[in-house]
Symmetry: C2
C-alpha cells in the first residue's frame, strides 16, 4: 500500500533557506496527522531546491553569444534564455518548432536543459536545475535526519516530456537513501521462468506518485510518500545519476 | 492524498474469464477494508487482460517469414518470436543489440511490440497486447459499474522502457473514464504568469503509482488507486490513444 501526502503551508523559498527547517514544522500543520517515519520518501520539486541554492538567473544580466543568438532566431525564442540553456547543456540534440532538447551537464536529456520561467517570482528571472541534485538530496536527507531522527529517502524531481508520448511525467533528477532502480533481472517470475529486462525505475515512479498527489497551481512542492520503505537504504546510494542511460547504450540520440 | 492498494488473491486468468467478476469479490478479502468507491481508479496490468482476451500465441504454431528470419538472425532472437513482434507492429524503428523497438498497430513505441514471454504459463507461449486496450478498458469499466455501482476509471498498463533513462516505468496503454492528460497550458501559475507546455500525463502517473504498490513477483495485477477522483470522468473519454504523440509531432523516430 502506497500513500502520498502533500505537505501544506511552505513559505516562498529564498536563496540560503534551510529547506529541512521549513519542511519539518509544516509536517505538523493542522490536518496533517503524521510527521516523518522510518521508510518515508520525501519527494521535493526541484524548484524549491533551486531557489534555496540561488540557482536563479536574471535575464537582463545575461549576454547572449553568437550561438545563442542564431539558435534563438531560428527557434523564435529569447536569445538570453537560449544563452542560459546553452550554458546548462553539454550538447543540443534536437532544436525544432521552438523546442530545444539538450543534454544537461548532469546527463539528463530534457527540454531547455530544465531551465524554467514558470513559478519564479519576478518577470525577468529563470530557474536552472540544481548544480548537483544528488548532492542536494544527500544534504537535505542528512538535515531531515538530524531534525527528525527518521531513516528516510529524498527524491528531487522535475517534469520531463517523453519521446513518443504526449504529456510530461515527473522524474527523479536527484535522490539519496534510495535504490533508484530495482533489478529483477535473473529472478524467476511466478511461473518459474527467468524474467528478462526487468529493471524498474523506482525513483521515477516515486516522482510520479508525488506529482499526482498535488495540484499544479498549489504551493505543494514537498510530498511525503509512505509504503515504499523497501526501497529506502541506509546508505545514500548511487543517486539519480544511476538513472542516466549511458550515451553508448542509447538508441535515440 | 493518493493511496494505492493492490488487490490480493486473484486466480490465474484464462481466456474468456470475466475479469470484473473476479476482481470484485477479491476486493472484499480479509485485510482489505474497502470496496470500490466513486472516484477510484482501477489499474490493471495488461497481462491479465490479454489472458482473458486469449491474446496468447503458441510459438510452435508460428511460421516465421523471411523478414522475421533475417531480423532474428541479425539480433540473435527466436525467429518465431520475431514473427509475432512483426505481426504486432506497423514499423520497426530500431533494431540493435538484441532489442527491437517498434510501433505497435495502436501507435505505441516500445520494445518487442509489447510481446511478452514472462509470467505466461507454458514454455512455448507469448502474450501480445490487447487488440484494442481502450475498448478493453471501456468494457471492464462498464462491468465493474454494473457490479458495484461505482463511478470509476480503468487504466490498463504495461511496462515500457524510456529513451535516455535507465529502467522501465509502467504506462497506460488503455483507459476509460479518465482524462488521460491534464492540460494546464494557458492557466496562470501561482506567481500569476502563464504556464507553458504543462500537459501532465495523468494516466501514466497512475500506472506508475500502481506499479510501485505491488511486488513484481506477486500475483497483484490489479491495484485500486484512491484520491485521484478529480481526473475521473462520467464519459469514457479519449482513452490512452490520447497519449500517443502523432508521428508528425515526434522528434525521435
Amino acid at each position: 500500500v502506497i500513500s502520498a501526502f502533500p505537505v501544506p503551508g511552505l513559505p516562498e523559498i529564498a536563496a540560503g533557506d534551510d529547506l529541512a527547517e521549513l519542511i519539518v514544522p509544516a509536517l505538523g500543520d493542522p490536518g496533517r496527522p503524521r510527521g516523518l517515519s522510518d521508510g518515508d520518501v520525501v519527494v521535493i520539486a526541484h524548484k524549491v531546491v533551486s531557489k534555496a541554492e540561488g540557482r536563479v538567473r536574471r535575464l537582463r544580466d545575461v549576454e547572449p553569444g553568437p550561438e545563442a543568438i542564431a539558435l534563438a532566431r531560428e527557434q523564435d525564442k529569447d536569445p538570453r534564455l537560449v544563452q542560459v540553456v546553452l550554458e546548462e547543456s553539454s550538447a543540443v540534440i534536437r532544436a525544432t518548432r521552438g523546442v530545444i532538447i539538450s543534454v544537461t551537464h548532469h546527463g539528463f536529456v530534457c527540454a531547455n536543459a530544465g531551465v524554467d520561467a514558470s513559478n519564479v517570482p519576478g518577470e525577468d528571472t529563470v530557474l536552472t536545475l540544481p548544480r548537483d541534485p544528488d548532492a542536494s538530496a544527500r544534504s537535505l536527507r542528512a538535515r531531515l535526519h538530524e531534525l527528525t531522527g527518521a531513516l528516510l529517502a529524498v527524491v528531487i524531481t522535475d517534469s520531463f516530456g517523453r519521446a513518443w508520448r504526449v504529456g510530461q511525467c515527473d522524474v527523479a533528477i536527484g535522490c539519496a537513501g534510495l535504490a533508484p532502480v530495482e533489478d529483477w533481472r535473473g529472478r524467476p517470475d511466478y511461473a518459474g521462468r527467468e524474467m528478462h529486462a526487468t529493471l524498474i525505475a523506482v525513483a521515477d515512479q516515486l516522482a510520479a506518485v508525488a506529482d499526482l498527489s498535488r495540484a499544479k497551481d498549489a504551493r505543494q512542492p514537498v510530498v511525503v510518500v509512505g509504503g515504499a520503505g523497501r526501497h529506502v537504504t541506509a546508505q545514500d546510494g548511487p543517486g539519480a545519476a544511476g538513472l542516466i542511460r549511458a550515451e553508448s547504450d542509447d538508441l535515440f540520440r
